[in-house]
Structure formats: C-alpha cells, structure tokens
C-alpha cells in the first residue's frame, strides 16, 4: 500500500478520531488523541493490509511558537514511525499532547523498544507515559532540572553536575 492508501484506510476506520491528516513528499501521517493511540496502533499492526509489525522510531516534538500554526491546539506531539516488513511500507502516527495534560498511554507491551524510547521522550520533553514500568530519565542525569528539548529551554543553560558520592574517603581531605 502507498502511505496515502494507509491514511485513507485509517481515516475511514476511525473517522472523527483522526484529528489531522497530513501529507508531504509522499509521506503521510495522522494525528490522534492520546486516548485513541493504542487502538490505532494495534489496528495498524494487526490489520493484514497495513501489518506494521515494526516500531522504528518514537520522537517527541515541541511546537511552542511554531509559525502560522493556528489549527494545532496542542503544544507537543509524539510521532511513531511504523514499518511493515511484509508490505515494505512506512507510516507515521502522531499523538496530540496538550500542555495541561502531558500524558500518553505507554505502548511498551506492544513493542519492547518503546520502553527506552518513551523514557527518552519523558526525559527530554517531560511527557509522561501512563502504564510505563520504569519511567526514569535515560540520557540526562537524575538531578537534571527541566527538559532539554523543550523550546523554552535555553541552549546555553548550565546544570548542576551530579554530586559526588558522599562516602568517598578523599572527600574528608581538605586541601591547603
């Protein structure tokens, strides 16, 4: 199937649950609400025509201040890149995440790779994934404050480094 056919199929199946559909250079994507995400992804994976058995990537995007963007009523999106090994096609599903409800259902039980990738989105955007077994920072250290890939996080902000362990013997030695 071409991506446009997949998009037509998803839009036909889910109707008004598809908030936005999108095409650029032959690549298509649909945006859905967080509550419908698992249903859409499971459908795409299990349907014989779409059969997207691979989750290739999972990425957060912050649209704060994106120019000419009136019909996007939410600040964040999380994009799921799907791939079908039997049909050799790709498709993208995006989930709308408004700033006042930074919650997306976790899909780590559908694809195990989502476990780490969701942790990364949590770390860098602060979007939390409900049902995730181990939602901790993955790239930044635990004492890190804020979320580095948000648009309102300044590029030159300095962070406290991790504090050294307290029980090191040399910590008691005072240098003259």
């Amino acid at each position: 199937m071409t991506e446009r056919e997949i998009m037509a199929k998803v839009t036909g199946r889910f109707g008004a649950k598809v908030l936005q559909s999108y095409e650029f250079r032959g690549q298509c994507a649909v945006t859905v609400k967080a509550g419908d995400l698992r249903e859409v992804l499971t459908f795409l994976r299990d349907d014989a025509d779409t059969a997207t058995d691979w989750l290739m990537d999972l990425a957060g995007v912050d649209y704060l201040g994106f120019p000419d963007d009136d019909d996007r009523e939410w600040r964040f999106e999380v994009a799921y890149q799907l791939y079908s090994s039997s049909q050799n096609h790709r498709f993208r599903v995006k989930v709308a995440v408004p700033e006042d409800k930074l919650q997306v259902p976790s899909i780590w039980d559908l694809w195990a790779i989502a476990n780490w990738m969701e942790r990364e989105v949590f770390d860098l955007y602060g979007v939390s994934f409900t049902g995730h077994p181990n939602l901790r920072r993955i790239l930044c250290h635990d004492e890190f404050e804020g979320h580095a890939l948000r648009k309102d996080y300044p590029i030159n902000k300095r962070q406290k480094l991790s504090s050294p362990a307290e029980n090191l013997l040399c910590a008691k030695v005072e240098l003259a």
């Binding site: 250079r25 058995d53 989750l55 890149q81 195990a112």
Partner: protein, 398 residues
C-alpha cells in the same frame, strides 16, 4: 553433619557488579549492572547517557548544512555514512536529487565506511576474547581506508565530504583505481582473518550460543542491521527501499539463523565481502558529469561565478548568510548505517534552521535488547555479546 563438624553454609546472596561505565570491554561509556550467582548473571540492567552531548538540541540552533559535521560524530566508526545519510534526508526534504556521479561516490565512501565499521567491531570484539592478531590486521586496513579518504577530501576520519545536493569534491585522478586496488587487498585480508577464526575451537566455544537474539525479540526491540540479519531476518534498507542506485548493484544480504555472537561476527564478515562487491561495481559503472546538483537555492555556486559575476556573489552570500530554506513539513528518511537503520526525522518550520531533528540511532534499539540476552549466561558471554552488538556510544547517546 553426621560426624558432628559444623560447616557454615556458603552465602547465597547475589553479588552486584558494575561493568562500566568506563571499562575496556564496553568500548565507550555505558554501564551494565549485573547480579551474579557465582559467574552466572541472574539479573541485568543498563544505564546509558554518559556521552549525551545534546546533538538534537544543537541541530535546532544551526543551519541545515552545518549539521553535516555534527552527524559524522554519531557513529564515529563509519563517519561518512552518517553525513551521507543526512544529506540524503535533506535532499528528500527539498525534493531534489544528487547527480548520478555523486550518488556513486556516496555509495563508494559509505561502503568503505561500512567495511571499516565492521572491521573495528570484529577486531575489538576479538581482542575482548583474547585474540589480538586479528585486531592488527583489521586496523591496518582501516588506516588505508583513512588514507583514501584523505586523498579524496583532505580529512581522514571526520571527512565532512558530502553536501546537500551531492558531494563536495570529485575524486582525484587515479583515486578510483587506488580504491579498487585497496578493495582487492582488503578482500584477501578479511578472508585471512576469517580463516583464523571461523572454525577456531576457542572462538566457537566462546561465541556459539552466547547472547542469542531471537527473531521475536529482535522485532519487538526494533533491532536492525547485522544483529537482525544474524537472527534470521533479511531486512536491509539498501534492498528494501533502495537509494543512491543500490538497486543497480548485484549483492546479497547475508543472513544467519542462530542470532548469537558467532553468527553476528560471521554476518559482518560476509557483509564486508558484499561491500567490496558493491564498490567494484560502483567504480566500474561510475558515470561522468557533475558531483553537485545545479540548484542555486541549495548548492553554492562555482567559485568562478562567485569571483567574476555579481549574481554568483549574491547567490553565495545569500546561501552562506541565510542558509537553505526548505518548505514547511516533516519527513522521515532511512538509510542503512553500519549498525542498522539510521533514520532522520526532520520537522521544518520553513526557516533555515531545523525545527526538530530526531535521529533514530540503530545502536539505541540494538542495545535495549542487551539485558535480556545476557540473563542466565556467564559474565564472559556478556562481554563477548556486548562487543558483537557493536555499541557506538556517540550514536547511542547522541
């Protein structure tokens, strides 16, 4: 006991041990914490992020063309594969195509990159297993590939060779012949190393059955590249969704079925031969013509025009100062990197700086499977498996 002596029971608590973050066997900075029962791993967890440099954030602050050198610092074992991939992603985004000669040069440089990536992976993995000789063989040829890169563009490791719309320089005279000679030599060297280990009793004892990735595990964890093909799934972006004219070249996608460390090593050997085959064909069929597209909104004008015409000077100035301005949109582009599917997800707001650049690093997915495949194995198996998955921290942590 029956004779009345009392023997204190041996403590049965699990021993917690850190492998890394800085350990010669991790080949980079990553931490694996294991719980040991004797020498058997009962439980394992990984921690990454020690080499996180904010690559994606950095990309959002510079022009599209300035991402090229950053991209090479992702998988620094085959740097030019990443920058070629980035330029290809941008070309897809802009809706342009690199000239045929540039595409062939990208294929040649990328396949050389794949060979040295695999060579270093196999070499260092074998060092971990106590076989130092192979390492020298392999690194010797990596140096020779670096010499070739140097002749091509002046830099050895981080070559900054491709440009959006083609490649920066055409190959010098007799470079292609030198390349061909090196590929022939390299094929022989690779088969010598393979002969040293492929039926080697010690090597097989250490690697067969160590760190097995099953098909189901591979799909669920998004494992790609040699690790996936060793598990029996022949997915390769070069075959599945060809780019740069890969569909013209005759080559096989080597597949094994065991998914263990031994299979991963053998698949990498086979891929090096296939890469040699591709390079030979690419050199034999390389067309003439320019190496950069003639799109004045993307590619810098020739120096002659810059120095001698007003339009050329303005064009150069505009591109350097204002950058390449793609339309608004978003796109996911995938190529086959040294370790698997290397994806770039680009979101543009129509300005000269990317709104969002997301890298889909193959290592990230490949490493996420690691704690599962070492459970129940020995520590030495874990070391063997870690080397064969080929974790490149630059790409893993970005």
């Amino acid at each position: 006991m029956s004779d009345g002596t009392h023997v204190r029971p041996i403590p049965s608590d699990l021993l917690t041990l850190n492998i890394g973050p800085a350990h010669p066997a991790t080949h980079g900075t990553l931490r694996v914490q294991v719980q040991l029962d004797g020498e058997t791993i009962r439980n394992a967890a990984c921690e990454i992020g020690y080499l996180h440099r904010g690559f994606e954030k950095q990309c959002e602050t510079v022009y599209y063309q300035f991402v090229i050198p950053y991209a090479e610092r992702l998988n620094y074992m085959g740097p030019v594969n990443n920058s070629n991939a980035w330029c290809y992603a941008m070309e897809q985004f802009l809706g342009i195509e690199a000239p045929a000669r540039a595409q062939a040069l990208r294929v040649i440089t990328s396949e050389l990159g794949r060979i040295i990536d695999h060579a270093v992976c196999i070499g260092t993995n074998l060092v971990d297993l106590g076989a130092l000789t192979n390492f020298w063989y392999m690194f010797n040829y990596r140096e020779k590939v670096y010499d070739l890169y140097e002749e091509l563009c002046g830099a050895r490791m981080m070559v900054n060779y491709p440009r959006i719309g083609g490649v920066s320089l055409d190959a010098p005279d007799d470079w292609l012949e030198k390349c061909l000679r090196l590929v022939d030599e390299m094929g022989e060297a690779v088969s010598e190393v393979q002969a040293l280990i492929s039926r080697n009793r010690i090597f097989m004892d250490r690697t067969v059955g160590a760190g097995t990735i099953t098909k189901e595990l591979a799909i669920s964890h998004g494992v790609t590249g040699p690790c996936l093909r060793a598990a029996g799934i022949g997915y390769d972006v070069r075959k599945a969704q060809p780019y740069w004219g890969y569909e013209k070249y005759q080559f096989e996608v080597p597949v094994a079925d065991g998914g263990d460390t031994y299979d991963r090593t053998i698949v990498r050997f086979q891929e090096m031969y296939e890469s040699c085959k591709i390079i030979r064909q690419a050199i034999a069929s390389i067309p003439g013509g320019p190496v950069l597209a003639s799109d004045h909104l993307v590619v810098l004008p020739e120096k002659d025009k810059v120095y001698n015409t007003m339009e050329g000077l303005i064009n150069h100035f505009k591109l350097v100062m204002h950058g390449i301005q793609p339309p608004k949109g978003e796109l996911y582009s995938a190529t086959e990197g040294g370790n698997g599917e290397l994806g770039f997800y680009i979101v543009s707001d129509g300005s000269a700086k990317p709104w969002r650049v997301r890298i889909r690093p193959p290592c990230f997915a490949n490493f996420s499977v690691f704690p599962k495949i070492i459970k129940g194995k020995m520590v030495s198996d874990a070391i063997a498996a870690l080397g064969s998955i080929n974790i490149i921290a630059g790409e893993l942590d970005r």
